[in-house]
Amino acid sequence: MSHIHLPDGVLPVWLWVSGLIITILLGAILFRFSKKEELTRRLPLLGMMAAAMVIGASVEIVPIAYHINLTVISGILLGPSLIFLATFVVNMILALFGHGGITVIGLNTITLSVEGVFGYFLFRFFWRVSKRLSLAIFLATFLALFASTLSMIGVVGLGTSHYEELIHQDGKGILEFKLSKEKGEDHKGASEKGEVNLRRFISIILPLGFIGWLLEGVITALMARYIHRLRPDLLRLEGKTS
């Protein structure tokens, strides 16, 4: 839910090109400042976590079209820099399944990275404050998903003028589709009808997202509890859990 499941050609070119450029720049900076040996050693782990995220994205909760992302738990296990590369790989593979367009890979990487990086730092913060694993993971996941949904809405909102342009393309093709237009309709009426309604989009996304954040928060907290029971070293926690 928190990344953009838009097909290609809906977002304006400047927006998705900017997304790609920012992703490439961020990737280059992270690559430049990371230790090559460490990066190479952790590549199989990155591949495994990316694969888990791809599998998680294929488990659909049907009534609300939500799927779990596993980005926060991956962020906690991989760390803030590797999660960026992992989200790029995940978005590339998901796009090859038609799960989001190819052109929006850059924007999706940024949005999902926000989730992973925020999740990592929020978890560290809540853990330090509360020392309660389930609570810290739940709050970190919930807030990270909220943040990435807001960034997704922001990205979609940036394309408003482009959607209006697309809506007003009505009937300019070879085959004219005039299903929603009357001949005598004045221009003002038509433009009102064709207005982009971002509020309606937000009013649908946020309540659906809220259910999703709760679900993923609970699932991630339970998963972390399970991982902590069997392999506590993976979470790299300091101090005791309660």
Binding site: H5, L39, P44, I68, G98, G194, N197, I227
Partner: protein
């Protein structure tokens, strides 16, 4: 996701004209389709593009059950139409763009094995990224096997039932927790065997 192995099988075993085309040419074709999707703004142009893709799909001898994959993006395109205030032209435009993109991609995936696609991408992208693609692709199959084995255990623990939401949540969380632990164990073994075979930052694919 389970369809991935079937898609891979079709891509490797298929014998159509499309299967024999070079992967580079097919990827160039997908780029052209994407260019069409991004630039076309009228329904007639998109309908024409979709018709061409349907024709190509029909002559590529891909099993019909794979065609259902092309409808997957529509689930999410539905959410986006609320922006337009239910303008029929905009809805058709978004749906056709989604269908053209997914049909082009499925056509590529069902006729080209993944390693060949990554091999072509390796000419343009950094080796680290392409290695990540290879490892992720390999890991998906490893995790799918683990998932299949775990499904039996999940079934004995009550599986997923709407009547018992909390138990279902615990079960699904334990499955994914188990998947991650097994995945991390497998990744450590994978790295050891890669180093043993002389891995140095890059996986070389000979395209056979």
């Amino acid at each position: 996701m389970i369809q991935l192995s079937y898609l891979d099988y079709i891509a490797v075993e298929g014998k159509s004209f499309f299967h024999r085309l070079s992967p580079g040419l097919k990827i160039f074709g997908v780029v052209l389709i994407l260019f069409g999707i991004v630039t076309l703004r009228n329904l007639s142009g998109l309908i024409l593009l979709y018709a061409i893709l349907l024709f190509l799909f029909s002559i590529s001898r891909i099993p019909f059950r794979i065609f259902s994959l092309t409808f997957y993006p529509l689930i999410f395109a539905i959410l986006f139409i609320f922006i337009s205030g239910f303008q029929i032209h905009f809805i058709l435009l978004v749906f056709l763009k989604a269908l053209c993109g997914s049909t082009g991609i499925v056509l590529l995936l069902a006729t080209t094995p993944y390693p060949m696609i990554f091999g072509v991408l390796g000419k343009f992208l950094p080796s680290l990224l392409v290695t990540s693609f290879f490892l992720t692709y390999r890991s998906i199959f490893i995790l799918l096997n683990v998932l299949e084995e775990t499904q039996h255990a999940l079934y004995f623990r009550g599986g997923l039932q709407w009547r018992h939401p909390w138990r279902s949540l615990i079960n699904i969380s334990n499955v994914f927790g188990h998947l991650i632990i097994k995945g991390i164990d497998a990744s450590e073994k994978m790295y050891e065997s890669m180093v043993l075979r002389g891995f140095k930052n890059k996986i070389h694919y000979r395209g056979e």
